[in-house]
């Protein structure tokens, strides 16, 4: 492959749309050609810049809450406004003001804990030995944790999904020991952290659902007394489908 061909196919290569034989040829050429290597680097940077610039808008908290509520509820029958209900509403409003204050404090702590989890994920990515137990087999990874952490968990069946298991390692959050599992999808690394909810000392409060930290997509929930946090640079929908698999397994 010459430089002109390489430049012409670079765009498709970076979009992950180049056929595998052409990809091999292009990578071979780039390794041998410093000019094209420079071009690849610039193009990758450019693509990143466009991505960062394009992720510009996020929904307001109020709108997010409204949509979440709407999606969680089945189509509802019209409310019958009567006095009893109005009384109940007044009571709820009074308590609401009180709980808002507590809620916002809880939220701050939870945000802080989430960013700690994102840091753990970054530390794993940067680590020379990212996993302590290297295995794509869940039946090897799960027993490895026995005796190392004070609880057990179930790993999902990944056959038929795009995810693969890379391995696992120990993790600590708020001095509580837990499991970190590393999954891969299309070259994106995703960490799944599992801790005992009570050991986290309300560090994540009642936090539930998807969020962002740094540039990572995250998702968190509790199930059977265990707190799960999924974090990675994969898309929100990938994070969501891995979460679904995990939820179904436990």
């Amino acid at each position: 492959m010459n430089c002109d061909q390489a430049r012409a196919e670079l765009e498709f290569y970076l979009d992950g749309e180049l056929a595998s034989d052409r990809t091999r040829e292009l990578e071979g050429h780039v390794r041998a050609c410093p000019e094209c290597a420079g071009e690849v680097l610039r193009s990758v940077q450019w693509k990143r810049q466009v991505k960062a610039a394009g992720a510009m808008y996020s929904p307001s908290a109020e709108f997010r809450e409204r949509m979440t509520r709407r999606l969680q509820k089945a189509p509802k029958k019209a409310w019958r406004w009567n006095w009893a209900l109005a009384g109940a509403c007044a009571l709820v409003l009074a308590v609401f003001g009180f709980s808002m204050v507590r809620r916002s404090q809880e939220r701050l702590v939870a945000e802080h804990t989430l960013s700690e989890v994102a840091d753990l994920h970054v530390a794993t990515l940067a680590s020379a030995s990212p996993v302590d137990v290297v295995s794509t087999d869940r039946h090897t990874v799960k027993p490895w944790f026995q005796g190392r952490i004070p609880f057990t968990f179930n790993l999902p069946e990944l056959a038929g999904s795009e995810f693969s298991l890379v391995g696992g390692r120990m993790a600590y959050l708020r001095q509580a020991p837990g499991a970190e599992l590393i999954f891969q999808i299309r070259k994106h690394q995703i960490s799944v952290f599992i801790f005992q909810e009570h050991a986290l000392d309300d560090g994540l409060g009642s936090l539930n659902g998807p969020s962002h930290q740094l540039t990572f997509n995250m998702n968190t929930w509790t199930q059977n007394g265990l707190r799960y946090v999924v974090v990675g640079d994969a898309s929100g929908s990938d994070i969501a489908s891995l979460s679904q698999l995990l939820k179904a397994a436990s």
């Binding site: 450019w46 307001s60 949509m67 999606l71 969680q72 009571l91």
Partner: protein, 203 residues
């Protein structure tokens, strides 16, 4: 007071659970469809909103657009074929809804001519590629993105921000994959040229 609150909450949860079970349609796994829709749709909220705001260039219009998209998707969820691409399906609904809105009609995507669109864009000037990448900051890029014609803007967003495959983009936009490739290439050149022009204007 706090006790009253928690009782109210519990009752509310009970009612929600009951409502969810009511539609009476169940998938093979025995999960109510309602629940499935939520699990599929809710994680897309942030992305959908971002895309909607880029299309409409206005917060409240974007909110209306996302809300209408979810309403239509929920209504048409029966027509969605399980196992096919849910994301592309929802984006398609959002985009079609946008195109029938007043703002969207002005964008007039249907009559869009990729080749003619090149003409309205500034010609390539001197700034070398390396300087372009170095100097283009986020704000500049955002302004340039906003100035791109809608058909160019949306294809760049779907490819580079949503990281959709060409096939997904083709499904979303309802155009052949080959057209996706050529439109995306043109759109990227146009974006670079706009940034270039802004850099030279600023210099």
């Amino acid at each position: 007071m706090v006790g009253g609150y928690s009782i109210f909450l519990r009752q509310n949860i009970f009612l929600n659970g009951w409502n969810k079970a009511m539609p009476g349609r169940f998938t093979l796994e025995g999960v109510p469809e309602q629940h499935n829709f939520e699990a599929l749709a809710l994680p897309l909220l942030d992305q959908l909103y971002n895309f909607a705001h880029w299309l409409t260039q206005d917060r409240s219009e974007a909110e209306d657009l996302v809300q209408e998209t979810y309403a239509k998707a929920l209504k048409g969820f029966d027509l969605f074929q399980q196992g096919t691409n849910f994301r592309a399906w929802v984006y398609k609904i959002l985009r079609n809804t946008f195109l029938t809105s007043r703002t969207g009609m002005r964008a007039a995507t249907d009559q869009f001519d990729d080749e003619k669109a090149d003409v309205i864009l500034p010609p390539v000037k001197e700034t070398p590629e390396s300087l372009l990448v170095e100097k283009a900051n986020r704000e500049l890029l955002q302004k340039a993105l906003a100035e791109l014609p809608v058909p160019f803007r949306e294809v760049v967003l779907l490819a580079d921000v949503e990281e959709m495959s060409y096939q997904e983009i083709a499904e979303t936009l309802g155009i052949p994959a080959g057209t996706v490739m050529s439109r995306l290439s043109r759109a990227r050149v146009a974006l670079r040229n706009l940034v270039r022009k802004k850099l030279e204007g600023a210099a």
